[in-house]
Symmetry: C2
Subunit: 258 residues, 2 copies
DNA sequence: ACCTAGCATTTGTCCGGACATTTGACCATC
DNA sequence: GATGGTCAAATGTCCGGACAAATGCTAGGT
C-alpha cells in the first residue's frame, strides 16, 4: 500500500528529504568518515520509505562525494563536506595553449640534448636526462609578429614526430598520441615572469631585456610519466593567458589543484 | 515475468547496453540535436526492457550531457558528443591566488579613484567608472620579502571592508561575501608579462625595470556584475602561478574556458 | 480572436518484489 | 597458519505497477 503523502505544495521529494537528513548527520559528525551506514533495508525501515527511495537518496550523496557504495560491502562515509569548488575546463590541451587560430609554428632547429642543472629544474627531471628538443617560433599569419618562442622537449623515443612539426600539423602532444601508445592524462602549467635574452630577441623582434611571460607545460601520460614538456616565452604585450573559473560542486575525489 | 538473461560473464547491464545503443544513434546522427526521443514507455517496448531500465540508461546520457529530460515535455538530444575535457579545480578563490600561507597582506593606502583610459582597459570597465582602490603589498612573514604589489578595486558601496583589510583577515572577496549580499560566481584570470615601474621598485625591493608576472582577477557575482578586480604584480623569481588539469568528462553545458 | 478548461502525453516519484553479484566472516581441514 | 568452502549480508540490476506533476494541444465558449 502506498503511503499517503501530505498534499503540501513545494515539499521536496522523500528521497531528497532523506538525503538532506543523512547529509546533516554527516556534517554534524554523528556519521563519521570511515563509518558504514546502515544497510538500505535498515534505512528504509528507519525512515519509513522504500528501498528505491533510499537508493535515490544515497545516489545523491554519492554524487556529492560524501559516500562510497560497494556491492557486498556497504555504504561508507568518505567526506564530511561536499567540496564546493571553482572549475576551469578546456576541451583539449590545445585549447589550453590559447594561441590564436591564425598563428603558425615555425621550426627553428631540433636535436637531442642532455638536461643540465638549470634545464633539469625547469623540466622537472634529473640532471643528465636525455630529451629531444624542438625549437620553434610561433607567429601571427597576418603580420608575421612573433608571439612566442617555444622549446619543446619530448622523450627521445618520440623524436620521429619532428617530421610532421611546423606544417599544418596538430600540436605535438597530439602527434604523439596518434603515433604512439600515449595519452595525455594530466597537464601541469607553470607561469612566471621571465626576460628575453639576447639570443632570442632578434628572432622575436624585440629588444633584449624585454619582459616575458614564461609558460611551462608538462604533459603526463596515463603511466604517470612526463612525455613532453614545452617551455614558451611570450614577449610582453603580445600574449595574455586567460582562464575563467565558475562555481560548482566537486565530488571530493582529490580534484583539487596541484 | 522476468526476462531470462543470458548467463554470459562480463556482459554489461541492460541499462548500459541501451545507453550505448542510444549514444551510437546520437553519434551517428540518426538522433539529431533538438530531436525528441521516443517516450520512456515506447523505448521500453522497442528494446524489450522495463521503464526502470530505460530511465537508468537515460540517466547515463543525461550525465554525459547528451540529452535533457523535462517532465511533461520529453527527452531532447542536446549534444552529439559528450565533451571530453581537462579540468582545473580549486576549492575557493583564495586557493586560486596560490599565495603561501605564511605571507601577509600589508595595506599601503586606500581611496576612491576614477578609472582613466588605461585603468578602464585593465579593469574591463568604462572610463570614468568610480572604484574604491586598496593598495597593498604581500610579504613573506619569514624574511619580509615582498612577493607582490596588489591594487584591489572594489565597488564603492563595499568600501567599508577596508577596515578589516591587512590584519589576520580573510581575502577581500570573502569579506564582501560576509558583509553584503554578494557571492562569487565566476573568476576571470588574466596573466601577462609586466615590468616593475620606478614607483613600486623600492617597496618591492627590486630594481626598476625588473620583469614581473601580472595577474588580473575579476570577481563576478551572481548578478553578472563585477564587484572586485585585483591587479597584482609579482617580481620575477618570486612567484610562479601553477595549475594542473586532469582529463575528465564534461556535461557539455558550455563549461569551456572563457 | 482570445481565453479557459479538459485531456492526453510525458517524465518524476514511490512502492513492493525478486534475483544477481560481490564481499567478508566463519568454520573445517590440512 | 594457510586454504577452501559455505553462508549471510549488502548492493546492483531489473521487473511491474501506480500515482503525481508538468507540459502542450485541442475544443468550446465568449
Amino acid at each position: 500500500m502506498r503511503k499517503e503523502r501530505e498534499s503540501r505544495p513545494a515539499q521536496p521529494p522523500r528521497y531528497r528529504q532523506l538525503a538532506d537528513e543523512l547529509i546533516g548527520e554527516i556534517r554534524a559528525g554523528r556519521l563519521r568518515i570511515g563509518q558504514t551506514l546502515p544497510g538500505e533495508l535498515e534505512l528504509g525501515e528507519a525512515f519509513g520509505v522504500s528501498r528505491h527511495t533510499v537508493r535515490e537518496a544515497l545516489r545523491m550523496l554519492e554524487e556529492l562525494g560524501l559516500i562510497a557504495r560497494q556491492q557486498g560491502v556497504g555504504t561508507v562515509v568518505t567526506a564530511r563536506e561536499s567540496t564546493e569548488s571553482y572549475v576551469h575546463r578546456v576541451r583539449s590541451p590545445e585549447q589550453l595553449m590559447q594561441y590564436p587560430p591564425d598563428s603558425r609554428l615555425a621550426l627553428l632547429s631540433s636535436g637531442e640534448v642532455v638536461a643540465n642543472r638549470a634545464t633539469a629544474r625547469l623540466l622537472g627531471c634529473t640532471t643528465g636526462t636525455r630529451w629531444f628538443r624542438i625549437r620553434s617560433i610561433r607567429r601571427l599569419k597576418a603580420n608575421g609578429a612573433a608571439i612566442c618562442w617555444s622549446d619543446i622537449y619530448v622523450l627521445p623515443e618520440y623524436a620521429g614526430i619532428v617530421d610532421a612539426v611546423g606544417r599544418r600539423a596538430p600540436p605535438i602532444y597530439e602527434l604523439i598520441e596518434q603515433r604512439f601508445d600515449e595519452r595525455v592524462a594530466t597537464v601541469n602549467v607553470d607561469l612566471f615572469a621571465g626576460l628575453i635574452g639576447e639570443d632570442r630577441a632578434g628572432p622575436l623582434g624585440v629588444e633584449p631585456g624585454t619582459p616575458s611571460l614564461s609558460v611551462v607545460r608538462r604533459y603526463t601520460g596515463r603511466n604517470r610519466r612526463v612525455f613532453e614538456v614545452s617551455v614558451s616565452e611570450h614577449p610582453a604585450g603580445r600574449f595574455t593567458y586567460s582562464l575563467e573559473l565558475r562555481r560548482g560542486w566537486g565530488s571530493g575525489e582529490g580534484w583539487t589543484a596541484g
